[in-house]
């Protein structure tokens, strides 16, 4: 069986698990909606600070919500992999003639499909609540690219941890690390408005630039965060490097599991 065909079958199985085990997917769906509403309502007034790159708080906070949801779409598959390892299903999967890479590419396809579903639900809700895509269709594509990138690197990280720990201890580490990684960015305020230790950490945190990519079409033209190549390539580079490292981490973990 070819890698892509095996990956497709594994992906199909994971997708079928959504209605069977909704508790593994719905938190990833509800989280961005909650984050978007709660943050934009609570921190509504920050847009009145002179120089803030948008006049709509929901424009600023929707992308971080989408990235949270995309990340949890990725690590959600890490949770189901742990369950499969614990129940012994994964051993049977490893004994099948499916190529090893298919065990990673299959879940990757699922993570992407979950992320697309999430965007198809969250973005219209955001628009209904007042989100305005200043950059048009390119803005939507930027947000989608960033969210697919976050789901890829989260999936690699989640699978790698699942293969190494092989029990639910990995789930706590997955959630905590993604949560901290996303918060130690310009999640709440623009980088130039942040002071002290967080400014330094966020500047060197590559996820900050993925967030720039996600947000660039939602901020006002003429600001330092607007739609431009300089706000695009660092995010794409961060996605390629982090996803590559995370998927390699997963593949090495799978090899260790085999041994």
């Amino acid at each position: 069986m070819s890698t892509m065909r095996s990956a497709g079958q594994i992906s199909l199985r994971n997708l079928r698990a959504i209605p069977r085990l909704p508790s593994a997917f719905f938190p990833a769906l509800l989280m961005p909606i909650f984050t978007m509403i709660a943050f934009s309502g609570t921190f509504y007034a920050v847009t009145k600070i002179p120089g803030f790159p948008t006049d709509r708080s929901i424009n600023w906070y929707m992308p971080i919500g989408v990235l949270f949801g995309s990340s949890f779409s990725g690590i959600g598959i890490g949770f189901t992999t742990i369950r499969d390892i614990e129940t012994g299903f994964y051993d049977r999967l490893r004994m099948s003639p499916a190529p090893r890479n298919a065990l990673i590419i299959g879940p990757l396809f699922t993570a992407w499909m979950r992320t697309v579903i999430l965007n198809l639900i969250v973005v219209p809700i955001g628009v209904a609540l007042g989100v305005r895509f200043e950059g048009g269709i390119l803005a939507v594509l930027s947000l989608l690219a960033a969210s697919l990138g976050m789901s890829t690197l989260s999936l690699g990280w989640g699978l790698g941890l699942a293969y190494r720990f092989r029990d639910m201890r990995a789930a706590a580490i997955m959630q905590l690390s993604i949560f901290i990684g996303l918060y130690l960015t310009s999640a709440q305020m623009p980088l130039e408005f942040i002071d002290g230790w967080l400014h330094h950490v966020a500047t060197y945190n590559p996820i900050t630039y993925i967030l720039y990519l996600a947000r660039q079409g939602l901020v006002l033209d003429g600001t330092s965060h607007d739609m431009s190549w300089s706000n695009t390539w660092p995010g794409l580079l961060a996605i390629v490097v982090l996803s590559g490292l995370a998927l390699a981490f997963a593949r090495r973990g799978l090899d260790k599991l085999d041994k």
């Binding site: 909650f34 709660a38 309502g41 609570t42 921190f43 509504y44 007034a45 920050v46 009145k48 600070i49 901290i180 918060y183 130690l184 709440q188 305020m189 408005f193 942040i194 002071d195 002290g196 230790w197 967080l198 400014h199």
Partner: protein
């Protein structure tokens, strides 16, 4: 029972840790992120955003920590320990109150720890040590109130997962209040929800102690609101206990 409950809580750092670490993490994030927001119209006069967020940090930590005790009660019911306790020659109400007292002690310790950690970094309390003591007392009462509500869930469902499942509700209750930003800076429906959310008044009472000093209104909000919730919550928990005993 209170002593056992307290020891049990502190013996589980994996459960206790998040409710101690996350509020401090959020306070540190907020202090760096929102320092410029303190000059916004409607924002109270503060020395720093950290000072503003001290009350929210205490309430956040205590709310999240109070789930831990109730989840332990559900575990006791699941593994049969609670049934063995019921066979003991002691008051059934005392068994529940003892466990809730453990939650209250943990809540007060959490409040004291948050104040002790954040005060040196600029979260000074205008009402000084007296105000800090009121905040610690308030933390204990809040933990007792929320712990009682969660215990009612634990007794009804006998499931630690069900108790943990209520966690997002607490998160929503906290976010849809004035815990993280003043109500005066909010608008529309969100402001209306924050206006009717009791958490807003509780946090604002503590915040008044931090930012302004002692006042009757601050004391009333910080002590009487959680006490009122507490009385109702304990009655609900005791009723659930009676229902459970009657069904045996």
């Amino acid at each position: 029972m209170a002593w056992r409950s307290t020891k049990e809580t502190f013996r589980q750092p994996a459960l206790v840790g998040p409710s101690m670490i996350f509020p401090i993490f959020f306070a540190a994030l907020g202090a760096s992120s929102f320092s410029r927001a303190t000059s916004l119209p409607g924002f109270p006069k503060v020395e720093s955003f950290l000072q503003f967020s001290l009350a929210a940090t205490v309430v956040q930590g205590v709310l999240f920590g109070s789930v831990t005790g109730a989840a332990a009660l559900a575990t006791d019911i699941q593994n049969g320990f609670f049934d063995r306790l019921l066979l003991a020659p002691t008051s059934r109400t005392g068994i529940l109150i003892g466990r809730l007292a453990g939650s209250a002690i943990f809540g007060a310790v959490q409040a004291a720890a948050f104040i002790a950690v954040l005060w040196p970094f600029g979260a000074t309390i205008k009402s000084s040590f007296g105000g800090a003591l009121v905040m610690v007392l308030s933390g204990g009462i809040v933990a007792l109130a929320i712990g009682s509500l969660m215990s009612a869930v634990a007794i009804k469902t006998a499931s630690a997962e069900a108790v943990q499942g209520t966690f997002p509700l607490l998160f929503i209750l906290l976010f849809f209040s004035s815990a993280f930003f003043p109500r005066e800076t909010m608008s529309g429906l969100y402001r209306n929800i924050a206006d009717v959310n009791p958490i807003s008044y509780l946090v604002e009472g503590m915040r008044e102690l931090v930012l302004v000093g002692f006042s009757t209104s601050a004391m009333a909000k910080a002590i009487f609101i959680p006490t009122a919730i507490c009385v109702v919550a304990i009655l609900i928990a005791l009723r659930q206990l009676r229902v459970r005993l009657a069904s045996r």
